[in-house]
């Protein structure tokens, strides 16, 4: 049976090395390029006509816009409009990474911790930089929740600091672990079918079972792919909210 981890292997397509640093163009980079080209071409093509009554492509682009705009309005408020380009880009990058990974023989670039960690630490840095820029040292009041009695503060403040620092870790691990686990599960069930078909006889008939179950799992995996992109974007919104308003 094929190794279920094999699909996550990064292989160089154009080997390249500069000053001892390996910067080969890999299959991961290839699928990232596809995602960038796809989103750019789609959004420019869809919005070229700017019709009052949108055609199908424009309607889809507007739906995507409205979805992210609504998410920002609900979670950050009207002041969050300035973060729209950031959240929209993050959402599209993660969504396309998850969705393109569902194509057969493709590569899921969000299934690598370095990709998700880079995104998550980028958001973490933005929250820190904008927070200190806007609020100065008042930003530290983030660690003191309002309405907490004085004698509880020595306990609450370390917990708040910990939960603040752990954010980029959980944000990145959640996405990459979901992608890894989902794709391994699909491969393992596909492997059951292959093994049963290879055994022949009665087992050939029984092998249809895992195959049918795999079809259900693929539907579930599409839900997870969308849901994880949504969760990634919404948690970024919640973290960015701290830079907009701080309870004094």
């Amino acid at each position: 049976m094929a190794n279920p981890i094999h699909q996550f292997e990064i292989t160089p397509i154009v080997p390249l090395e500069i000053a001892g640093i390996d910067i080969s163009y890999t299959n991961s980079a290839l699928w990232m390029t596809i995602a960038v080209v796809l989103s750019t071409v789609f959004l420019t093509m869809a919005m070229r006509q700017k019709a009052v009554v949108p055609n199908r492509m424009q309607a889809f682009a507007e739906m995507l816009y409205g979805f992210v705009a609504g998410m920002i309005r609900e979670n950050i408020g009207t002041k969050g409009r300035q973060y729209f380009p950031l959240i929209f880009t993050l959402f599209v990058v993660v969504l396309l990474g998850n969705m393109l990974g569902m194509l057969p023989y493709s590569f899921t670039y969000t299934s690598h911790i370095w990709v998700t960690a880079a995104l998550a630490f980028f958001i973490f840095l933005i929250v820190m930089v904008i927070g200190f820029y806007k609020h100065g040292f008042h930003f530290f009041s983030l660690f003191v929740p309002p309405g907490v009695p004085m004698w509880l503060l020595p306990l609450i403040i370390p917990i708040e600091i910990m939960s603040f620092l752990i954010r980029p870790v959980t944000l990145s691990v959640r996405l990459f672990a979901n992608m890894i686990a989902g794709h391994i599960m699909l491969k393992v069930f596909a492997g059951f079918s292959v093994g049963m078909f290879a055994a022949g006889g009665y087992m050939t008939l029984a092998g249809i079972g895992p195959m049918l179950f795999n079809s259900v799992l693929i539907g579930f995996e599409f839900l997870i792919a969308f849901l994880q992109a949504y969760v990634f974007a919404i948690l970024s919104c919640i973290y960015l909210k701290d830079t907009v308003e701080i309870a004094h």
């Binding site: 981890i5 691990v173 959640r174 672990a177 979901n178 686990a181 849901l227 949504y230």
Partner: protein, 75 residues
């Protein structure tokens, strides 16, 4: 015990958080269904919160699964 047996056992123990995740997911589904049953108009409002809670809870199970896979296949 043999090393291989200990590895498998550790992988199994690492999956114990699934008990809590199972209970948690059950509570999320139950309260969502109950809330929508009592007030069907609130379904649209609750949908997003429900999906967020579902994804956050499920992520814990995935963390445990990842650690288990690591213990069995890599460690």
């Amino acid at each position: 015990m043999e090393l291989e047996a200990v590895k498998l056992l550790a992988g199994a123990i690492a999956l114990l958080p699934l008990i809590g995740v199972g209970i948690g997911l059950g509570m999320i589904f139950a309260s969502y269904n109950e809330a929508v049953g009592r007030n069907p108009n609130a379904a649209e409002l609750l949908d997003k919160k429900y999906f967020l809670a579902f994804a956050l809870t499920e992520a814990l199970a995935i963390f445990a699964l990842l650690i288990s896979l690591y213990l069995v296949f890599v460690g």
